[in-house]
C-alpha cells in the first residue's frame, strides 16, 4: 500500500454530497454519552457557582489561566493534525496519514505535560479535590477531561499502528474517521471547559 499520486485532490474524495457520518456508529453512541456526562458536569458547575459565588471567584484567582490558554491552542492544533490525517488517507496517503496521527499524539503529550505542571503547582499550593466545591469541580472536570485526552491518544496510537500496517486506504478508512471523531469530541469539550473555568471567572 503506497500513497497514491496526488491527482485526486482532497476535494474530490470528500463526500460533499452524500450524507456521511464519519466513523463507526457505535463510537457515536459513545461520543453522545460522553457529551451528556460532560454536559451534566458543566450544568452542575453552573449551579454550584450560583450557590457559592464568592468561593468560586476566590478559587478562580488561584488557577493558572495561561496554562489553560496554552492547552487550548495545543488541543486545537492537535485536532487540526488529526483532521489532516483523515484528509490524507482519503487521498490514499498512508504515510502522510500516519505522520499526522503521530503529530496528533504528540499534541496530546504536550497537553498532558502542561496539565500536570498546572496540577503540580496547585497541589504545591495546598489545594486538592477536597478543598471545597470549586476545587472539586476544577480538579475533577479537568482530570476527567485529561483522562479522555489520554484515551484519545491510545486510540490514535492504535489507529496509527493499524494504518502503518496498511489496513486503511482511500477506499476503506473508517477506522481513521472513528478515532478522529473521538479526538475531536475531546477538543470540543475543552472548548467549552476553557471559557467556563479559565476565562469567565
Amino acid at each position: 500500500m503506497s500513497a497514491s499520486p496526488d491527482v485526486l485532490t482532497s476535494q474530490a474524495v470528500e463526500p460533499a454530497e452524500a450524507k456521511h457520518l464519519p466513523g463507526d456508529l457505535a463510537m457515536w453512541f459513545f461520543i453522545l454519552v460522553e457529551l451528556a456526562a460532560f454536559g451534566l458536569l458543566f450544568a452542575s458547575f453552573a449551579i454550584a457557582r450560583f450557590l457559592e459565588p464568592e468561593a468560586f471567584a476566590a478559587g478562580a484567582e488561584t488557577i493558572h489561566a495561561g496554562a489553560g490558554l496554552a492547552n487550548t491552542l495545543v488541543l486545537l492544533t492537535g485536532s487540526f493534525f488529526v483532521a489532516r490525517a483523515v484528509t490524507a488517507i482519503r487521498a490514499g496517503g498512508v504515510e502522510r496519514c500516519v505522520n499526522w496521527l503521530w503529530a496528533g499524539v504528540a499534541s496530546g503529550v504536550v497537553y498532558a505535560v502542561i496539565k500536570f505542571s498546572e496540577y503540580g503547582q496547585l497541589i504545591g499550593d495546598g489545594y486538592n479535590l477536597r478543598s471545597g466545591t470549586f476545587y472539586f469541580f476544577y480538579f475533577f472536570t479537568t482530570f476527567f477531561h485529561l483522562m479522555h485526552v489520554v484515551l484519545g491518544m491510545i486510540i490514535l496510537v492504535a489507529v496509527a499502528l493499524r494504518c502503518r500496517r496498511g489496513l486503511y486506504s482511500a477506499a476503506d478508512h473508517r477506522g481513521v474517521e472513528t478515532g478522529a471523531s473521538y479526538w475531536h469530541m475531546v477538543d470540543l469539550v475543552w472548548l467549552v471547559l476553557f471559557p467556563i473555568v479559565y476565562v469567565l471567572l
Partner: protein, 470 residues
Amino acid sequence: MKYKSQAVAKPYFVFALILFVGQIVFGLILGTQYVIGDFLFPAIPFNVARMVHTNLLIVWLLFGFMGATYYLVPEESQRELHSPLLAWVLFWVFAAAGTLTIIGYLAVPYAKLAEITGNHLLPTMGREFLEQPTITKIGIVVVALGFLYNVGLTVLKGRKTVVNIVLMTGLVGLAVFFLFAFYNPSALTLDKYFWWWVVHLWVEGVWELILASILAFVLIKTTGVDREVIEKWLYVIIAMALISGIIGTGHHYFYIGAPEYWLWLGSVFSALEPLPFFMMMLFAINMVRRRRRNHPNRAATTWAIGCAVMAFLGAGVWGFLHTLAPVNYYTHGSQLTAAHGHLAFFGAYAMIVMAIISYAMPLMRGRVANNAQAQKLEIASCWLMSIGMLLITLFLTGAGVHQVMLQRWPESGEALAFMATHDALAGWFWARLAAGGLFTLGLIAYLVSFFVPQREVAPTEDAEAQTAAA
C-alpha cells in the same frame, strides 16, 4: 434442547421458584406487620422475616442465573457442559446450605446463630443483605468458584459468542465483588463504602450484564433476528450500563460519611443510569417488531418485553426519581427507597429469570412451547404480577411522599416522629398489602400454568428442529 447437559438447568429453575414462593410468603408477613405491628411476634420478629424475604430473593435469583447459564452456555458454545455431575453436586450443596441458613434464621435468635457459626472469628454478619453466617458466605464462594470453573471451561472449549462472553464477565464480576462481603472494618463509613461494592456493583453493575445477555439469548431464539444485530446492541447497552453505573455508585455515598464531592458525582452519573434501561426497552421492543418468525412460545416473549419495560420503570424511572442529592436528602431511607427497590428487582431480575424459565422449561420438558391454554394462563400471570408490583410501588411511593411531608420536610420540633408518621401512613400500607395479595394471585396462576395438561404435545424432534433453526 440441543445438548443433553442443558437439562441440569431444570433443578435450578424448580428450586428457584420454590424459594420465590417462600420470598412472597414472607413478603406478605412483612406487609402485615407494617399494619399490625405485633403480628406473629415473638415467633417471627420483623427483622427475621425481612432477612428471610431479602435473602430468599437474592438466592432464588442466583439459582435462576445459574440455571439460565447452564441452559444457554452449552447451546451458545455448541458443546456439552464440561461436567454435568459437578453442576448437580453444586446444586445440592447450594440448596442444602441455603435451606440450612434459612432454617437457622427462623429457628434460633440471630445472636445465637452468630455464636454457633463462629461469627467472632471473622465477623461478617448483621449487615443488610449480607446477614448470612460467615460459613455460608464461604460456601457461596466455593459454589461460585466451582460454577465458574465448570462454565468457564465449557465456554473456553466451545464457540465464543458475545452472549457467552458478556454472561461470563457478569458472572466473574459477581463472584469478585462478593468478596467484599468479607471486609468488615470497625469504621462504619468504610464498612458501608465497600458494602456497596457488593450491593450496588451487583445490581447496577455486573447483574445488568447477566440480565442483558439472558435477554439477548431469549430474543435471538424467539425472534429469529440476526445474531449479529442483537450482539452489537448488547455490547452498546452494557457499555452504557457500566459507564453510568460505576461512578453512579456515588448516589449511595451522599449521606454515609463519604466526602462531599460524592453529592455531585453521584447525581451527575446516576442521572445517566436510566439511559441503558431505556435503550434496553427500545431494543427489546424493536427486535420483537423486526422478528423473522413467530415463535410458538409467546409467553417467553411476553416476559422478555415485560422485563425490559418494567426494568426501565423500576430501575430507570423510579431510580431517577430520588437519585439527585437534593431530593435524596429528604427521601434517603424512606418508603420511596422501598418503592424503587421492589419495582427494580422485580422488573429487572425476577422477570428476566421468569423469561428464561418460560423459554427453556417447555424445551426441557420435551416441547417447543406449552399449549395455548397454559400460555394464556402464564401471560395472565405475568400481567397480574406486573400490575400487582406496580401497585405496590405506587402505594409505597405515596407512603414515601407522605412520610417526607410529615417527618422529613418540617423543621425539628414541628416534624412528626417516626412511629407517629408510620401510624399516619397506615392507609398506604393496607393498600400495599392488598396489592401484595394481587401479586400473590399472579404467582399462583404462574405456578399453576406449569401443571396445565398438555393435550397436543409436540414431539421432541420438532422441538430440536425449531431450536436448530434459531
